[in-house]
Every structure is written in structure tokens, then in C-alpha cells.
Subunit: 176 residues, 2 copies
């Protein structure tokens, strides 16, 4: 959210996790640096049971994300900034419940979390903060040298934020 | 949230936890049945550090709530239903992040969570779904036989939802 400082981007090695949070379906993408290029190590989704209570569904999302953190041990998490202008309040609020549990999973592992504005992600991936969804998907496919655009769309969105995070970290000035 | 089923109210004994969720400050109230009347066993707040990142703040709230669950071992948690019409989107979204982490804490303990509409709480405590804040506070003070209205207001709000939950459970038909 605006006004809440993001953690400092981590060093230039390691693994970069991108998250597209959702109560029904949370997408994730794990990138790593391979021959000075970003590589998609794993992409997938964590789903919750629609019939479950809100608490149970959050628990399912949390467990799935924790498994990803445990298996891939990324050094940092990137996630899209929540919009401050909400068109659809109820879905946004449900998403924020899941997002809270996901950020908690990162905090419990002392994992830095970096929040990116949608325009930042678009600009870093395509050069334009107003890029279309298709342009973003094209950039993901090209930059990660994939045979196809990741599916479902939650994985593509998670890959976009992970890639934005990767480039941000590579571009960040070296400390010291 | 509307459309997501609440858990079945628990049996008529035990401890009843009411939560007023907030990222800055989460109020809680633990009630128990004492001589066929509700008694406020403990009320308090969990605060987060304003300077912290969103993830750190959610973690602080989560840890505080988990401590309350561990210490008092309530049988169920009651929490106010999230409004579907949002006047202030940003505070509502931040609150929903904290609320997600709090619901997660309940789910991790298999603790039933019951969501109450603000009008339900007002009606059960005063007889009117349109009761004023002062009428609610007066009802809390009377029903819990307190010398003063609980402070800060987060504790009073948590006491209101806990009391609503207590009465709902007492009123619920006996199973079997």
C-alpha cells in the first residue's frame, strides 16, 4: 500500500518470487538468474475450496504459499501494489484477506517483500506504463524464453511481477 | 463476507472471543459464562508498529492474536462482517489484510469463526439495528456489569461482537 515502505531489494543473486494474490486462486512464479538471464524455475497456482469458510480458504492459500516458500526458498517476494481506487470492493476485500496471509508467510520467514505499482511492472517489462495485457504476455514469453504464455493468467501475472522484481534488483546500485 | 458460510455456533459453555480487526490496532474481548451471565474475562488491544512494513505489521497483529488464542483458548471467534459498501477503500483494504491473518490464526487452531453484521450486533445488544454508538456502549457496560465503558474503543467494539456471539450461542437451539 502507498505510504508503507517496502523492504530494500535484495542482492542480485538468488531466487525471485512473484505472487498474484487471490482468495480463489493465487498465482506464483519463481525466477532465478541463469547465464545472466532470468529463467522461470517454476510457476503455478494455489487454489482454495469455494465451499469452504473464509478462514478455511485463507488457510488453504496460506498453506500452499508456505509450501512454495519452503520448497524454493526465494530470497524475496514481489507482489502487486493494491489499488487505492477500487472498482469492485467485495473481490478486492476478499483478495486483501488472502494477501494479508501471504505477506504474513513472508514476514514469518524474514523474507523481504517488495510492492510494485501496475504501471511500474508494465514500464519495466515493455517500456510503457500503459502496455496492454497482450504486450505484457508477449514480454514474459520473450524475456523468459518460453514456448508459450504461462497459463492460467494468474501464473502470467505472477511471472510479470517476478520479472519486474528481477529487473529492479539487477538495476539496483550495488551497495557498499 | 456475504455468501461465505459461517461456522456453526459452538456449544453453550466455554469462552467467546470477539475481535475488532485493524492493522494499527486490533481489539479483543474474551467472555465466559459465569452464573448464567456473560463475564468479561479479558479485554485488550494488539498494536502494530506504524513504521513497519505492511508484512511486518500483519505479523505483529498475528503474533498478538495468537498469544490471546494460546492464553485463553476460546472455543470460537466472532468478528464483524466486512462492509460490502466501502466509504474509505484504503483503510478497509489494510484492515482486510490484518483480518485475513486473524482468520488464519483461528483456522490453524480449527476454531470456528462466526461473522456478524453490524446491524445484528446492534439488534442483539439493544433491540434496534440502528442503535447509536452510545447505546451500544451502555449495553456493554450493563450486560457485562462493568464499572466503566471499556477503552480504547477497539475493546468496546470487540466486547460488542463477543457479547452478540455469546447471546447467539445461548439462543441457539440445542442440537441432538
Amino acid at each position: 500500500m502507498d505510504g508503507i515502505p517496502s523492504a530494500t531489494p535484495p542482492n542480485k543473486g538468488g531466487r525471485y518470487l512473484g505472487i498474484d494474490p487471490g482468495l480463489y486462486c493465487t498465482g506464483y512464479a519463481v525466477l532465478e538468474r541463469d547465464s545472466a538471464q532470468p529463467r522461470l524455475l517454476e510457476g503455478g497456482v494455489v487454489r482454495s475450496t469455494v465451499e469452504g469458510s473464509l478462514a478455511e480458504r485463507i488457510h488453504e492459500i496460506s498453506c500452499g504459499v508456505r509450501e512454495v516458500l519452503e520448497e524454493f526458498r526465494p530470497e524475496s517476494m514481489a507482489i502487486e501494489q493494491v489499488f487505492t481506487t477500487i472498482k469492485y470492493p467485495k473481490p478486492a476485500l476478499l483478495m486483501a484477506h488472502a494477501r494479508g496471509a501471504i505477506l504474513l508467510a513472508a514476514a514469518e520467514r524474514n523474507m523481504p517483500v517488495v510492492h510494485y505499482m501496475p504501471t511500474q511492472i508494465k514500464r519495466l517489462l515493455t517500456g510503457s506504463g500503459r502496455a496492454s495485457k497482450e504486450q505484457i504476455q508477449h514480454a514474459i514469453k520473450n524475456e523468459l524464453r518460453l514456448k508459450a504464455i504461462p497459463e492460467p493468467n494468474d501464473v502470467a501475472d505472477a511471472s510479470a511481477v517476478a520479472l519486474c522484481h528481477y529487473y529492479s534488483c539487477q538495476l539496483a546500485p550495488t551497495g557498499g
